[in-house]
Symmetry: C2
Subunit: 218 residues, 2 copies
């Protein structure tokens, strides 16, 4: 990989390429993610990130004008690491592997703390933190979409399958249990959730009476 390819995304306002620049970006984003995992959003400060990354605060401000920009970069880094897209050869296997991955992440107390921090943010928070939160999930969903595309190619799912909805049906119950419930997140839960979501995806076009039988106006 060329060094300038380590500049990963559009969260860097003043984008530059080159060795030192890329190293600084990597160090700052890694430090921001570590701090986010350690102390949560409420404890993330420019000063702490500068100290942990070994760079001047002014260097950080030049590229990431606010803590929210740093948070966005850290969340995208979290979304990208340790999450290879499953490719087991079947849609059941891929969805099972994907949900197992999500459950493993949510079972890490430091990751769950970050998710709790994200959930706690009011919608009237600054626009950039909302943007960071949705960038995280858009990234997660976008990478998972290839699972659905491969399944359509293998004729395992209808060609018009809504990838977002399927991935949401896979992931939302796990997030809800982790954030709000006290039900166990175990192997039975994973298997049952995959079966539910897959049935939903397959019924979507197979049975055109679903979805409108209660409301003649639709």
């Amino acid at each position: 990989m060329r060094q300038d390819e380590t500049v990963p995304d559009a969260t860097t306002p003043a984008r530059r390429t080159g060795g030192r620049s890329a190293r600084v970006q990597d160090a700052v984003e890694a430090a921001a993610l570590e701090l986010l995992l350690d102390v949560g959003y409420s404890g993330l400060t420019m000063r702490a990130v500068a100290q942990a990354a070994g760079v001047a605060e002014t260097t950080i401000y030049r590229r990431w004008p606010t803590v929210d920009h740093l948070t966005a970069a850290a969340l995208l880094r979290l979304a990208a690491v340790d999450n290879p897209i499953p490719d087991t050869g079947s849609i059941e296997g891929d969805l099972h592997a994907l949900l197992t991955q999500i459950v493993a992440l949510l079972n890490r107390p430091r990751v769950l703390r970050v998710v709790r921090s994200a959930a706690a943010l009011d919608d009237d928070s600054t626009g950039s933190i909302r943007a960071a939160r949705s960038a995280f999930f858009d990234h997660r969903f976008a990478t998972a979409t290839s699972i659905v595309e491969r399944a359509i190619g293998r004729h395992e799912l209808p060609a018009d399958t809504d990838a977002y909805q399927l991935i949401e049906a896979i992931s939302a119950p796990a997030y809800m249990r982790a954030l709000l419930g006290n039900r166990p997140i175990d192997d039975d839960f994973i298997a049952a959730t995959v079966a539910y979501a897959l049935a939903g995806a397959r019924a979507g076009t197979r049975d055109d009476t679903l979805g409108n039988s209660w409301d003649g106006s639709r």
Copy 2:
């Protein structure tokens, strides 16, 4: 309704019946809920509740030893009000009405703030606040279970349908969008989510290859 019937549940440590006692309980729980909706869990104090309810702080401490006990009582009150169990005559209609109700609640900024507060609580918070959080969802799920029981009676769902899982499939995507996403929660979302969940419930026993095709050990 007799006055002593306003003593609703087991969240009152020193349970008493009788006119003044019931009125005090009602006033305190109503005040706690209002404060929770107004300022969130972090702003809920014994003193504020006492002032809003017009009772002495010592009266509150005698029945609700901690803020967490008050929070539990307030959450149960929130779970119980304004949420009649739908009974439209069909499982599609009932699930559609239930999700519409959940979406309406999550669209109320004050309610969403309380849900955000609940999601933000670490699992290593005191046991009683975790108990309050799960009491809220257990109450919600328990009341919704009658929807599934009626549908089984009408032969709309398999007799062994897991009510918890079906209600979770209905509600989890809405909670996830409200708490973490920026996708719209609109009529199309409601219709698609109901269709997905219902297909999952119906596939559960209809297709016994689902749920184990990726793992021979199950």
